[in-house]
């Protein structure tokens, strides 16, 4: 089933970032294998040496870009980066990322919220990368962000979803789509995110830094699809004891 942001309909619920790939050709293969329709890029100073750009490649592949504000520590820098991205890439969409420190790369809630308010007022469609904090997620939604994106675990850590309960709480209270962003290490993490009710999963390192990026990209695509189907299928309740699935009637017994 498709999902929609800003009247843009997408089939794939896997948003694959472009970070961490050792070459553009490996990245291209992984993006194609993932089936993603939306991918993140960072904004950096132009380097004439690298004219064969990721932007050119994404246009060729027909994948929509979601510029991020990665590396920004303040609302001021994040807002400037978002405005540069809007001008360069001709999109109002921005993944707002305002980090607190380089060891955890976790969002700074104060700066994040300030930047979100300003960008919403400025007409951006804000995808807010946030902590797995239900209160902050709600505040961001109230400020007008289009998508709330809680971290499962620190960026690039591969630790999975450290607080599934919080993610579930965020999803249950949100009126906007929730995308699990950061921390995914392997396919089961992506499936879990979807089972918890997320609209999509955003990941990069788990694929681009895997030994076989192409195989992991495919695994993630399948996991997201499987998780979404499972979420809608109505899982059986957990029970403390067994419930036989074979009938006891008509059994034979040894003499």
């Amino acid at each position: 089933m498709t999902w929609t942001i800003d009247d843009v309909e997408m089939s794939s619920r896997l948003v694959m970032g472009t970070g961490g790939a050792s070459s553009l050709s490996i990245l291209e293969d992984a993006l194609v294998a993932s089936g993603t329709e939306l991918t993140t890029v960072a904004m950096r100073r132009f380097d004439a040496e690298s004219r064969d750009s990721v932007f050119t490649m994404l246009q060729r592949l027909g994948i929509r870009v979601l510029p991020n504000t990665a590396g920004c520590y303040t609302a001021r820098d994040a807002v400037l980066t978002a405005r540069l991205a809007r001008e360069a890439l001709e999109t109002n969409w921005v993944k707002l990322e305002v980090i607190a420190d380089e060891d955890t790369l976790l969002p700074d809630p104060i700066e994040l919220f300030a930047a979100a308010e300003e960008l919403v007022l400025d007409g951006f469609t804000v995808f807010a990368y946030t902590n797995d904090d239900p209160a902050l997620a709600k505040r961001l939604e109230d400020a007008g962000v289009a998508v709330v994106m809680p971290a499962g675990a620190p960026i690039g850590s591969g630790l999975g979803i450290l607080n599934p309960h919080n993610i579930e709480t965020i999803v249950s209270r949100a009126q906007v789509p929730v995308i699990l962003d950061a921390g995914v290490g392997t396919a089961s993490d992506a499936a879990l995110a979807m089972e918890l009710g997320c609209a999509a999963v955003l990941l990069a390192s788990a694929v681009t830094r895997a030994h076989d990026a192409l195989a992991m990209a495919r695994a993630m695509a399948l996991a997201v699809e499987a998780g979404q189907l499972a979420a809608g299928a109505g899982r059986i309740p957990k029970r403390p004891l067994a419930l036989a699935s074979s009938p006891f009637d008509g059994m034979v017994a040894a003499q």
């Binding site: 970032g17 540069l84 001008e87």
Partner: protein
């Protein structure tokens, strides 16, 4: 000595950069990217440029590049998309 005796020097992407003379943002971007640009800032080849410009921390819209004359001491950043996130 008048202003005409020396070339304007800007800080371009963090490094000193001497301009040949009166230079618009449009001229500079065409030079740096190696692409021909229309007066409205779009590439002459009809493609997309994927470039944004800030002067002293303020984004200059593409359509205004041709009117933006760079002056001595300006801090200019030209950015594009790279892998990330």
């Amino acid at each position: 000595m008048t202003d005409h005796d020396h070339s304007p020097t800007i800080v371009l992407n963090g490094a000193r950069h001497e301009l040949p003379g009166a230079t618009s943002a449009l001229d500079l971007i065409a030079e740096v990217t190696g692409r021909d640009l229309n007066p409205d800032g779009t590439p002459a080849d009809g493609g997309r440029l994927g470039i944004a410009l800030a002067v002293d921390g303020e984004v200059i819209r593409r359509g205004a590049w041709s009117h933006c004359t760079l002056a001595d001491g300006h801090t200019v950043d030209i950015v594009t998309a790279v892998q990330g996130g």
